[in-house]
């Protein structure tokens, strides 16, 4: 039996490997080889028209050089380019001798490419595309292709410009203190936000493409001399292995590359905050930035990152400790409060203080449903309300909250359909769910709540513990790019464990986390503790004080 299984597994593995290699070839080179191409302009334009069809937004403009020696054509997608740039810096210098003197009259088919590239056109970013397919692909990113009759290579100018959303406050992760610049849908803007925070030569933004039809740009951002090279290699490998036709959101990538695809828990942290992303990079993690998505993925991720907020690192450390413990508590509430409530009032009534028992009993007098059914019902109603609130336009949203909160909540209690205590439990649970900084982590909790309530209704606290143990086993088995999901609590250094709950003062934060296997662990010098200027010397002038400080260092 086991041997049969292992044989099957080997077979599967073989097949998988086989498939992937085949498809890779098809994906990468297949198109290029198949497509026809020709250096002759007429023929090329015909080919282009045939390939691209009659799309109105694709502009093809044929023209000749000033001396009429070279036939040229320009190709771009309207709406993705800055037309003025094309007119003033590509077409005009070629057509007129006035702009760039002494060059355009020398144009001939033989030297056109070099002359145009080096002397005539005045756009900063120019690339040479080896063939038509490549040029077309670049054109769809907003570049402009300059076709030269008789020249195989195509000049591609970067003329990207389109309507983009401004950098705004990240709506899903607001913070009282900290940068208000959230990522946008434009990849270049996002990388710029990152660059502005980390001005170091070793910040690498590595470009990849994913999605056969969407041709989405994916950028890996990391710091070369900190990142764990093995993790980086693994991320590259997994993203390169994605062979799908569309990547519309970073969520697609997330699902393709996570370690345990069927898990209910998110194994990649995502953020919209540019400061959080920069902090992650400096911690030695890798960012996966996907074009058209304001959400950036962070790998590797451990579970406890979900109870940390960027603000923890900006305000006094004391409040960070309190808040993290609070969030941990809230996480437990969000997961199991209704289940524990159901378990206790249907199985373990002896656990309640007598007066509480009596008031709950009084509240439940005449309620038609057993506590389990009541809990499931109320949780379901809450989920419906929440979903309705998220999807509706803001103006109607208020109506929903009035109907949901007041009418359903109040009326159902008055009608005796549900007990007030259950409403309190559900409300506390709901608020706890929102108190977690990570939305994607709270999704898992929201779903797991339901099976836990059912277990509680059937087996009491035993059932709840049973469910929790299963969840814990699952969590302990997860990992994210080689880093255990429960690290650093599950295994790791004592200081990392402490840092999970208590962030140290910045001047104490000497090392990066051990669990990532980084190349460079040292964050700062060791003697960064607050130093006092001796009282007598505080009277010195500003200049002197600075010198004094510098000398001491």
């Amino acid at each position: 039996m086991p041997s049969a299984f292992s044989m099957l597994r080997k077979l599967l593995k073989y097949k998988l490997a086989d498939n992937s290699s085949e498809e890779k070839q098809a994906g990468c080179r297949g198109d290029a080889i198949r497509q026809e191409d020709s250096p002759l302009l007429e023929k090329r334009l015909d080919l282009i028209r045939k390939r691209l069809g009659e799309s109105k937004d694709i502009v093809i403009r044929e023209f000749s050089s000033n001396n009429n020696q070279v036939k040229l054509a320009i190709l771009y997608v309207d709406g993705l380019v800055d037309r003025r740039l094309i007119n003033d810096h590509i077409i005009r210098p070629i057509q007129s001798d006035f702009v760039v003197k002494n060059f355009s009259h020398r144009l001939a088919e033989k030297n056109a490419l070099q002359l145009l590239k080096k002397h005539i056109t005045s756009i900063s970013e120019v690339a040479e595309a080896a063939n038509l397919t490549q040029a077309i692909r670049m054109m769809f990113s907003g570049d402009t292709a300059l076709l030269i009759n008789g020249e195989e290579k195509i000049l591609v100018y970067s003329t990207r410009a389109w309507d983009r959303r401004a950098v705004t406050e990240p709506e899903t992760e607001p913070a009282v203190r900290g940068s208000r610049e959230g990522f946008t849908e434009t990849l270049r803007t996002n990388t710029a936000l990152l660059r502005r925070r980390i001005r170091h030569e070793n910040l690498r933004l590595e470009s990849m493409k994913a999605g056969r039809r969407t041709g989405t740009d994916v950028v890996l951002a990391y710091i070369n001399d900190i990142v764990n090279p093995l993790t980086l290699e693994e991320v590259r490998r997994r993203i390169a292995a994605i062979d799908t036709d569309s990547i519309l959101e970073s969520g697609y990538i997330e699902e393709f590359i996570e370690d345990v695809p069927f898990s209910i828990f998110p194994q990649l942290e995502r953020t919209e905050r540019s400061d959080k992303a920069a902090a992650a990079v400096l911690d030695g993690r890798i960012l996966i930035m996907v074009d058209n998505t304001p959400h950036v993925l962070i790998v590797p991720t451990s579970f406890f990152q979900f109870i940390q907020a960027s603000e923890d690192y900006y305000e006094r450390p004391y409040i960070a400790v309190v808040l993290r413990l609070l969030r941990l508590f809230v996480l437990n509430i969000a997961l199991m409060l209704p289940a524990v409530y159901v378990a206790i009032i249907t199985f373990h009534q002896e656990m309640l203080p007598t007066s509480l028992l009596l008031s709950i009993a009084a509240a439940r007098e005449g309620v038609p449903f057993p506590a389990v059914a009541e809990a499931l019902l109320m949780e379901a109603i809450f989920e419906v309300l929440r979903e309705a609130g998220v999807r509706l336009p803001k103006t109607v949203g208020q109506a929903v909250s009035i109907v949901g909160g007041l009418v359903i909540g109040d009326a159902s209690i008055r009608a005796g359909l549900v007990s007030p205590s259950m409403v309190i439990v559900v409300a506390v649970t709901a608020i706890s769910t929102f108190a977690l900084p990570a939305f994607n982590a709270s999704i898992a909790l929201r779903i797991l709540r339901f099976p836990l309530i059912m277990l509680a209704g059937m087996m009491g606290l035993y059932g709840v513990i049973f469910g929790l143990v299963i969840i814990l086993i699952h969590l302990a088995g997860l990992q994210s790019f080689g880093v255990p999901y429960l690290s650093p609590l599950a295994h790791g250094s004592v200081s990392d464990m402490l840092k999970t709950f208590a962030r140290p003062f910045w001047w104490m934060t000497r090392r990066r986390a051990d669990e990532l296997g980084l190349q460079n662990m040292k964050r700062q010098a060791g003697n960064m503790g607050p130093r006092k200027t001796p009282f007598a010397k505080r009277e010195l002038t500003h200049d002197n004080t600075e010198e004094h400080d510098a000398g001491k260092r």
Binding site: I345, Q349, E350, T354, A362, G457, M458
Partner: protein, 416 residues
């Protein structure tokens, strides 16, 4: 293979849940929450145990705003040859499941206490629902009658008894005992058990004609003067029931009970009165804030004796004369008066204990801890020996403060 096993395991786990069902599931509103059990003994019957269950009606609580929701506590009674049988009989009238885990009062009638508490203790210890932290109370008369006393301040009689117990822990005049401690005492060699007596007595307003002003504070009688024809009574903790083995030996009154607490070193709070050192007809009231008792056994030439040293601290809280009692000399006098009063209380308690032949202080247990060999020799005859053993009592009292004023106010017209 791994995944298949996982799925199989998950299915098995699920079937575990569904096949076991919810056999012990009870909705909270289907419980008859018992708040007190009174157990009485009816001598000469074949089914001598009378059990009264005080069951809380949650519905009555919920309807507070909607006017009278009916009685908060409902009583059910049953008789049987054993306590369990009696409860069973009562259960036939109760439309809900009897839920004993929130019962923390076990009230035993005087008759049953005299007959022996072992059946009660056996029931309580065996039943997993019963809490050993429930208080054991001995009712003067029958427990059932006691439970039927009308509540006054609290919502129900059970809460009223609870309140009394909570207060007693502050007042140090008697001591309510949880069942587990009672059990420990009756099973410890050289020690006897005790617990609190509860009594329905006439209301204070009925006492008024007898009029002895405010002197009632000083821990005198609980007022067992026979009330008039008035039915209205209120409950009070009225001393200490002392046991010989599991049988009620007798009842110590308030001051004897406090004497017993002094002996055992359990006095914490309370007040007491002594004569004014300047004007002996006047009263000075002292509070007790802290006390410490040390009992040392000594054996000399085979003769066992005990020495009890008490140190009591307290404040002066009122005086009826206008003498200045804040001088060192006066305080010293007050100290010795207080020590004397404490010693009297202790001696009274000791005398009563000897008379009842029950060592509720646990002199024997102390002897056993200090001189195990000697105790082993006398263990069998301890109750008889205890009666004879000399006990030397040494009291040291200390008055720490005189409240917010040192000298009493001196009205000009009456100043001496």
């Amino acid at each position: 293979m791994k995944r298949r096993n996982c799925i199989l395991a998950a299915l098995l786990a699920c079937s575990l849940i569904f096949t076991s069902g919810c056999w012990d599931q009870v909705e909270i509103e289907d419980l008859a929450i018992v708040r007190a059990i009174a157990i009485d003994y009816l001598p000469g019957r074949r089914a001598p145990y009378l059990v009264t269950l005080a069951i809380k009606r949650p519905a009555a609580m919920g309807q507070q705003e909607g006017g009278g929701g009916g009685e908060q506590v409902v009583f059910y009674a049953g008789v049987g040859a054993s306590i369990a049988l009696a409860i069973e009989q009562a259960a036939t009238h109760i439309p809900r499941r009897i839920f004993l885990t929130h019962n923390d009062l076990v009230i035993v009638g005087e008759q049953l206490a005299k007959h022996g508490l072992l059946p009660v203790l056996d029931f309580v210890v065996r039943n997993p629902d019963m809490r050993l932290s429930a208080f054991l109370l001995i009712a003067k008369g029958t427990g059932q009658e006691l439970l039927h006393t009308a509540e006054r301040l609290e919502g129900s009689i059970t809460e009223e008894i609870h309140g009394l117990i909570d207060q007693a822990e502050d007042a140090a005049e008697t001591q309510p005992v949880p069942i587990f401690r009672f059990l420990r005492k009756i099973t410890t060699p050289g020690e006897e058990a005790y617990t609190v007596v509860i009594q329905a007595s006439p209301l204070p307003k009925d006492k008024l004609p007898a009029a002895n002003g405010e002197g009632a504070q000083a821990g005198e009688g609980g007022g067992n003067g026979g009330g008039g024809a008035k039915q209205e009574k209120s409950l009070a903790l009225a001393g200490m029931a002392v046991f010989r083995s599991d049988r009620l030996a007798g009842i110590l009154n308030h001051s004897e009970a406090r004497g017993k607490l002094w002996l055992a070193g359990m006095t914490t709070r309370g007040i007491m009165a002594v004569d004014d050192p300047v004007h002996p007809e006047e009263t000075v009231t002292l509070s007790l804030t802290r006390s410490q008792t040390k009992i040392t056994p000594s054996v000399q030439a085979g003769r066992i004796s005990f020495r009890v040293e008490v140190e009591a601290e307290g404040d002066l809280i009122s005086q009826s004369s206008q003498a200045d009692l804040s001088t060192a000399e006066m305080i010293e006098k007050l100290n010795s008066a207080k020590a004397g009063a404490i010693k009297v209380e202790m001696e009274k308690a000791l005398q009563k204990m000897r008379q009842l032949e029950t060592d509720v202080v646990g002199f024997g247990a102390i002897l056993k801890r200090r001189e195990p060999k000697i105790f082993r020799e006398v263990a069998d005859r301890w109750p008889e020996i205890f009666v004879e053993v000399p006990v030397e009592i040494l009291v040291k009292a200390n008055i720490r403060r005189t409240g917010l004023q040192a000298k009493p106010a001196q009205p000009l017209s009456t100043a001496k």
